[in-house]
């Protein structure tokens, strides 16, 4: 068993336990920081030692999850674009989602608690988008259109993050067609 595999499993257990606690305690912006490591470990049936092997505190666990979600949201956002306009139907199916149900639940809790991405997570998004767009349309395109591209991917990832919290594939299919319309208007020469 690889170390990183077990790390992932522990993280997953803690995240699932967190979602259960969030419902039980109706977590909001006011009380999200009041969960304790003991409560979390109890829910995840995990020892505190195991928790502290991975995270230095409850806040550390939240921040780590948030960091992971920034990457996931960016991957999902890129996958939908990369799939192209004519494949929206297929790519927006629930079974095609890159973000798992428990992760979407936790994203929803974060949204409810107003626990938002910070500059560090924005940086992850920026790096992923820049490398994706450079690969697809060339580095010149990316450097020449920096302002417009930032505008687009910031608005688009906020949309994807929110839409993943409460996912309806039919609605997303329709809305993704608007996203493509905006993209095509901003960059008529670069079609997906």
């Amino acid at each position: 068993m690889s170390k990183s595999g077990s790390d992932e499993r522990i993280k997953k257990r803690l995240q699932k336990a967190f979602c259960v606690l969030a419902d039980e305690r109706q977590l909001s912006a006011d009380n999200i920081m009041k969960i304790t490591v003991s409560l979390l470990c109890e829910g995840a049936v995990l020892s505190r030692t195991a928790f502290y092997d991975h995270f230095d505190s409850y806040e550390g666990f939240l921040a780590d999850s948030l960091h992971g979600f920034a990457g996931l949201v960016a991957e999902q956002a890129i996958a939908w674009l990369d799939g192209g306009e004519e494949n929206i139907e297929k790519n927006c199916k629930r079974s095609e989602l890159l973000v798992k149900d428990y992760e979407r639940n936790m994203l929803a809790v974060f949204k409810r608690c107003e626990y938002n991405f910070t500059a560090a997570e924005d940086e992850i998004t920026a790096v992923r988008f820049n490398s994706f767009l450079s690969e697809r349309f060339g580095t010149d395109f990316v450097s020449e259109n920096r302002g417009k591209l930032t505008f687009f991917y910031k608005a688009y990832t906020i949309y994807v993050r929110e839409t993943l919290c409460d996912y309806h594939s039919k609605k997303v299919r329709k809305e993704m067609s608007y996203v493509f319309a905006i993209w095509n208007r901003l960059f008529p020469e670069c079609k997906f």
Binding site: N116, F151, F152, K154, K174, Y178, A181
Partner: protein, 175 residues
């Protein structure tokens, strides 16, 4: 004004009281602490932003006769939009602290306004709200940070905003 000089966490109530010239008991009668003063300013500013956005979308003519310089200094925008001086410190503070919540709330509020107005303008409500949120989030999150850091606004962003026209919203796919 104090906020321009130091982070809010370092401003004490007594400093604020001495600068503003109000008495200590008056201060505490109205506010709990410095943060509350800030919250109230921020709330007022949010209302102010929503008003500007409203004009931008529904009273476009107001902006028709403004000729834009190539790069747009902060002071220019503050003058054109009549942004009171105390707000500019609030904005700088919010951006520096990366207060995402604040921007998201402004966008939410404005989307509600658009949703209400959509019917009257014969627009599809869902489309209008989607476009509004997208453009406002893009604008608030991409440009303002750079803007207040560099002191100039990228004119490309203004082009985008100017192309955010009700006709496109109305057309939806025909954007």
């Amino acid at each position: 004004m104090l906020m321009e000089k130091k982070p809010i966490a370092e401003i004490s109530a007594s400093e604020l009281i001495s600068v503003s010239g109000v008495g200590k008991s008056t201060f505490y009668r109205y506010y709990h602490d410095v943060y509350e003063v800030f919250e109230i300013l921020a709330k007022k500013f949010a209302g102010f932003c929503v008003d500007i956005m409203y004009d931008f979308v529904f009273n476009r003519e107001k902006f028709d006769n403004i000729s834009l310089p190539e790069t747009i200094p902060v002071a220019f925008v503050e003058a054109v939009l009549n942004i009171p001086k105390e707000y500019s410190a609030v904005v700088r503070y919010l951006i520096k602290e990366n207060d995402v919540r604040f921007f998201l709330k402004i966008t939410e509020k404005f989307s509600d306004v658009v949703a209400e107005k959509a019917d009257a303008y014969g627009m599809d409500k869902d489309i209008a709200v989607f476009f509004t949120k997208f453009f406002m989030n893009g604008f608030l999150f991409s440009s303002l940070g750079d803007y207040y850091a560099d002191g100039v606004l990228n004119s490309g962003i203004i082009d985008i905003l100017l192309s955010f026209d009700l006709r496109y919203v109305q057309g939806g796919n025909a954007l």
